[in-house]
Symmetry: C3
């Protein structure tokens, strides 16, 4: 289904009705309202003004539109900040207070803000609990955006100390767990422990990891309390949240999403690609600047599907150029439609576009909408119509699930480990995971992202690009799973407290494959070296491990000095290096085939996804491309054909 | 005429007389004194010491030298800072106080400093009002240098709040004008409004623009008060100021210069080129590192002539290597003479060299002077003599005006708009303006920089490289002008308050040409695309607009996707993209010719300027170059010939 | 001899005895203990716990290992910081306090910390003064590391004011010496003087130099007091310190080492090369990333020998990958042995490896040890055994001196001058010195680094790459020395107070060669120009001086514009430019030969050092290389041959 983000408060009331009529004409079902509207809803402390919102809902409901309301907590108004200045967070890199004047100016450790947030949420929830047009809620907005998970405030420090006491019980136990004997960091009391910021040089990694865990839990605590308020008063409504990319929340995304009915993603393929590819050469950058990389938005779709209950929503879909990346290109014609279908292919049930009409003022005035500021229709309009019609014509089942036999394990705490202990500047957790994901996607493989304590019994292949902390519970789950497991380097190297695995890396994984990491090195990205696999040479080496190999372990790829680069037994394939995507594609193809996972020989820039009965072929290139899907199944094309048009897609149905 | 900046207080008194004799021998008329000398003039609060200055003036006057005095306010002494610590400004990027120990350590919003500045100015003005050798005053020094226009102090905040109240009257009117409904930024009272700094993420653009306007007005308020003090007590003296490049003041330069008798420029071609070209490749950088770019100093000359009453002065002319750029090359032999003539060609009446003798100590000890620290003559000496003699031999009329039929509109507030709302990292307002200017200069066209409310009736061609805010008064002036108008992209896209033009870009310009900007994109500078004009292809695309075109509008250049890149009607040419300089040169040549503006086919690195009866040809290259000026006029060479020598110039007279 | 750094407190007591037995088996003599152990030795104020240390010493002594103890002052414990918060230093770039949580969190100007440091040092010294196994002390650890020489605290400010008063006597004398008349910086009282930090723009260079001198003296004051405590109570023990690279201490290294028995160096060739070569291109960087540059560690060895009494120690030798550089490669096989021998070749008497066993926790858990965290032996183990055996087999005399006839003058205060007054971004004092050093080393010349007031009577060639401040005492020493002197550009250009030499550069050096520097320029590193020497062209030009040349001075190399690039008389060769290393190699070869210093034609990546009777040839390349040592001496190879194996060495003895 389709929806839109709408800010009636930005426009004269006399435009609302026509807006609602046009929304319906476009085939929209949902309208998201009230995000960021606290100062409008409560212009002074305790003085509420819901008239405008009641009116807006009424006008929209008249056109049978369903309303999703937002708690307006991402933007506390100035009067509230002036009353409780401790709401403002403190920058952990400078120690200065992050002031009012934009958004997300709140500290998750401010009890004043916690209380006030629940108050306004409750007021709204009570008011709209039984409104017939209101169907659900979005909590806050893009929680943790703008690096707001961490605060260096005194509030945060005291909450952290209490959190530590709860986690470790005694100070001796903390000293022991972290190894504070190093550099005389032993504590006598929890009240001595500072936040691990603004020190002379790098702080203790265990201290840092604890602070990240604490900060994440503060976010979850806040978010869960808000969900509880909404569910208490509005038991019939769904509660969701619009996530930014998983790697940016600095929070445990599985925990954040756990109490939601489902999760949403805010999808900005061009802005995100611009940031992620900022250091790429001209050719690579230019190639995808108006389309987004074929796997980048998809990776986020699969992430969000992973933390959602089954499928997910797009709460904000980029409809044109945005305003916030280094450069903000126009999508190529057809891309808004293609992105919408790509989200559907990965499990989206509803696509809401951001925003109805481009704002005439403020920070996002250069962010395109479906309608322009002069109320004309932007180019996205026609593409949304086309998408709407194609959904109907293909009879696409938006409730169907994506069924994958390949899983990747995703774990924010493991991302933190690599951020805290970089060890080499060319190690980037997001990039490492993306490269494995992209290799799988180039083979036409659908991927489930699962949590470290997921049920793995249904997978044939489990891929773990980088997971330094692998606990024994996961080892047991992996042992029990029928899947073959692929581990990237660093896996299992650390304990839960970010100390070294006492038996050397890969730590607990040694129970599955008898190897030991005897030394580790990192190299500059441009100073790497080849590995040899089945007679061909591939680039590798940003991170290299020297392995000692036990019984029953085969070396299947070697460094140029003959040391083992990739080793294997029946259960496990372990990569002792970071390689290029090409090697990953070749290796994962061999492994997938061996596990009985079907792979495809897809032309460059072609991607294949399967959902329910449908298969979707996407072409991110300027040339029409013919795809050979093999003769194994009976297929019927319901959109396009095996010759996929440029910047377009084809859809087939298994019959 | 010639002059020099002199700091007698840096040298033993017994050197002064010989200095004065040598100044006269060099043919100097003016000597600037007392800049930065507050601690010498008032060593303790209220205890004045003018003896040394009286003596220095006397010694110089004896040689018939005329004195320009400076208010010493760019460097408040330590005792004053200790008495009024609120004089120190606050860094807007960090919130920390910018301390004593260099210069310009004052806050334009400190009322204590305002009062003290006027006091010392008045003391000096009264003392020297009737001194026969004193002819004029320089206010302060390089106002706004070192990013001092903006301060993050409480003084600034309170003054800003008062300024806002004055501008907007009611808080409702401010909320409405800015659109503070966005992100719940609505205010209930002016006292709630912070400076738009140190927030979680980017602050409201209208808020930022207001802060820039306020800060600029604070500078003008301070400067105007100082001018008033000087004019009150010294009605016979001129009052001027030595400007840094217009783009660096962060103030309305027209307003700053309005009450001055004329404006001065401090001309450092190598230092400025080093900074401006810092990211250029080896060949481009090396080519001009010892000459300066042919158009870079000139552009500043024309800027300053634009804000001056008619002609202008060079108050500080670089005589050799400086100390403050990333790299500080030696000028090539002949360049000090060439730069002096180039300034004259663009309207300079007087050139003062900085400084008489290189300082032996402190921050600028590596900054060359006319004389070296051992009192020997630096290489500049002979070049100044040559320039002096050539001025006499050519009988150059230094009072003549530059008469141009081509104007460019210059507006600091429009520069601010593009700095506040970058939208693409490769958009640089200074560069955009420079590229248009350079294209015109390569055609031998003299350019007037004019303010947005200038009289445009005398121009044949008006060029507006980037002016997002175009108000209706300017539209009327353009309509009334006989000139053809060239607009670059972004023009007219915004309202006065930095919101979007409700009718879409180019906003009010639509009254002159029926086009609408339907979407805007920015691209990375290395990822652009060609445009086609008259069968040739040119590079373009850092900023691109998608145009809808009304009746009577021709498309004269197209993007490779066939969309309109440059459109035109009789009155207006509108560029929907940022192109390379080569395209601008070709297009502007065609437009100039059509408007009856004479253009020239100049060899590379040759520039032509005309002033009064004189034409001046400059050669910035290592090769002699022959220039074909066409047969239209009777010309007589008074210096050199049509074959312009390397790093030299030729001058002809129209007969 | 061999030793190791050991942290028994990081491991269960039941491992200690086996550790000690293995240390002895490896042939170790020394064990360094108690570094960073304050919180373990004094867990609460005044409550000491020496049991563990007594026990550890006893266990080690049982194996005849000798103990070096450390004062634990690099890591004050949290209870001490909480009692005296003024111990924490203040960041001079931001003004924020540098907090607890890592190491070196102390301010050399905190009197509280001074007193507490001497207290804990005295307690330890008294306790172990007569312990038979304890032989010496290491003060603190890597003093000044992490930019801790400078603090922006009030303590530092007040101590600085007192220091200034002592140095200058009267405020008038300071004003005069610095030239504070510039920019109205005149002071009336010492109490007005701020630290030269956090100002609006660059602060006064003389002010900055004074602050650097003061800060250096604060470090020396602290360090000397600690040495005095140790020497008072432990007159039989040696006292040493483990230095970081000389360029990083920001202190007068000669002064710091003066009261020590000898100096130590902490040798991390790969980490240091990674940082020093961070901006190099792929080929240059990759070539040495696993070996270190052949001259980089050596240069530090010679530095430390220079500040030591005669020979020196390596207190910490890298045994494998480290954790703290941008990238942390694995040493190539053989490099730990090669580095150990390279240190010996340059005068090391003892090599201690860091650390015995890789730490399982905290900041350095990725830093390799001789043993791995699982107690297995890392690859370094076997290389240390080989080195131990070769030392014995070759009967190498570790007490012999390095005897060189070529000296380079090293002066931290001159490094400061170039850091304070950069003048060109491509001037890097460390790089300039390194290039001269590397050129000499490529010629097989051993180099002594000496202080500016060293006895120079035994040298044939003295090289001064960059020494802006050359006082008359040094001039007299140079005059008296039989050596030919080579000066690089900038030499002699400044007075003691960082003002310009009144007679122009090279200032006092003009007494030795009649030349004057008439102007100076700096160029971007990629925009330089050739010089011509003996018909060949070399790259030069990052720093260029224009020379006026007096009688008896020959120009031996010229710029392309024919100006003098290198000039010479019998006593002095003066380079007026920074050239490439190749030119320095050719020029210094000619000069060395003329002075009777033997040079060698060494293949690329081969280095030669001579110590006592021994000559050592090192091969940093992957190819075996034959070295022709000439027929002048009777040589006998005691290790390897004239064909030096890849990544290996040969040793010969003069017979």
């Amino acid at each position: 289904m389709l929806g839109v983000c709408y800010y009636p408060e930005h426009w004269p009331q006399d435009m609302w009705q026509q807006d609602a009529i046009e929304m319906r004409a476009l085939g929209l079902t949902y309208v998201r309202l009230a995000e960021f509207s606290w100062s409008k809803l409560e212009p002074q402390e305790g003085t509420y003004n819901f008239d405008w919102l009641d009116k807006a809902i009424a006008v929209l409901a008249e056109q049978d539109l369903k309303i999703i309301l937002c708690t307006p907590t991402a933007t506390p108004p100035k009067w509230l900040i002036d009353k409780f200045p401790d709401i403002l967070p403190v920058d952990i890199n400078t120690g200065t207070t992050r002031g009012f004047g934009s958004r997300r100016h709140y500290d998750f450790s401010s009890e004043n803000y916690f209380r006030e947030s629940m108050r306004i949420s409750e007021v709204m929830a009570k008011r709209y609990a039984s409104h017939p047009a209101v169907v659900g809620w979005q909590t806050d907005n893009e929680i943790a955006c703008h690096d707001t998970t961490h605060s260096g405030s005194d509030n945060a420090k005291h909450a952290f100390q209490a959190w530590l006491e709860k986690r470790y019980g005694t100070i001796e136990s903390l000293n022991e767990a972290w190894g504070t004997i190093f550099w005389s960091m032993e504590y006598q009391d929890f009240s001595q422990i500072e936040l691990p910021i603004l020190a002379v040089t790098e702080t203790h990694p265990s201290h840092q990891l604890a602070y990240r865990r604490f900060s994440s839990e503060q976010v979850v605590r806040y978010h869960d309390a808000m969900i509880a308020v909404l569910k208490k008063h509005c038991p019939e409504h769904f509660v969701t949240h619009n996530f930014i990319p998983m790697t940016d929340t600095q929070a445990d995304n599985f925990a954040l999403a756990e109490k939601l009915n489902f999760a949403c993603y805010d999808n900005y393929p061009l802005g995100r690609t611009d940031l992620f590819f900022a250091d790429r050469d001209t050719d690579t950058f230019k190639r995808y600047m108006r389309t987004g990389h074929p796997d980048f938005a998809s990776c986020s779709f699969d992430h969000v599907r992973g933390i959602s209950k089954d499928n997910f929503w797009i709460m904000e879909q980029q409809p044109g150029p945005v305003n916030w990346a280094h450069h903000n290109p126009r999508p190529l014609p057809g891309m808004v439609r293609l992105w919408s279908w790509e989200a559907v292919a990965h499990g989206a049930e509803t696509i809401c576009y951001f925003r109805w009409r481009q704002a005439a003022f403020a920070q996002e005035q250069m962010h395109a909408g479906i309608k322009r500021v002069d109320n004309s229709k932007s180019v996205a309009w026609q593409e949304i119509e086309q998408f709407r019609d194609e959904l109907a014509e293909t009879e696409f089942d938006l409730t169907a699930s994506v069924n994958s036999s390949v899983a990747m394990i995703m774990s924010t705490s493991n991302q933190w480990v690599t951020e805290i202990e970089r060890q080499g500047d060319s190690f980037d957790h997001q990039l490492v995971e993306f490269e494995y994901y992209s290799a799988l996607r180039q083979l036409g493989i659908d991927v489930d992202f699962v949590s470290p304590n997921a049920d793995l019994s249904s997978y044939k292949l489990v891929v773990v690009p980088c997971m330094p902390i692998v606990d024994k519970v996961l080892i047991s789950a992996l042992e029990a799973s029928p899947a073959h497991i692929v581990f990237g380097p660093r896996s299992g190297a650390k304990t839960e407290e970010l100390t070294l695995a006492p038996e050397l890396g890969p730590g607990n994984i040694q129970r599955l494959i008898p190897i030991k990491v005897e030394s580790t090195e990192t190299l500059r990205a441009d100073c790497t070296m080849p590995i040899l696999y089945k007679g061909a040479s591939y680039s590798a080496g940003r991170w290299n491990e020297e392995l000692a190999i036990g019984e029953g372990v085969k070396t299947i790829a070697r460094f140029s000095n003959q040391q083992a680069a990739v080793v294997q037994n029946d259960k496990i394939t372990y990569l002792a290096t970071l390689s290029d995507v090409e090697f990953l594609r070749v290796l994962l193809n061999d492994l997938a085939v061996a596990c009985g996972v079907k792979t495809y020989l897809l032309p460059e820039d072609i991607r294949l996804s399967q959902r329910g009965q449908f298969g979707l072929l996407f072409n991110y290139s300027a040339q029409a491309k013919r795809v050979d899907l093999g003769a194994s199944e009976q297929l019927e094309f319901v959109l396009g054909s095996e010759e996929v048009a440029p910047y377009s897609l084809s859809i087939y149905k298994r019959v």
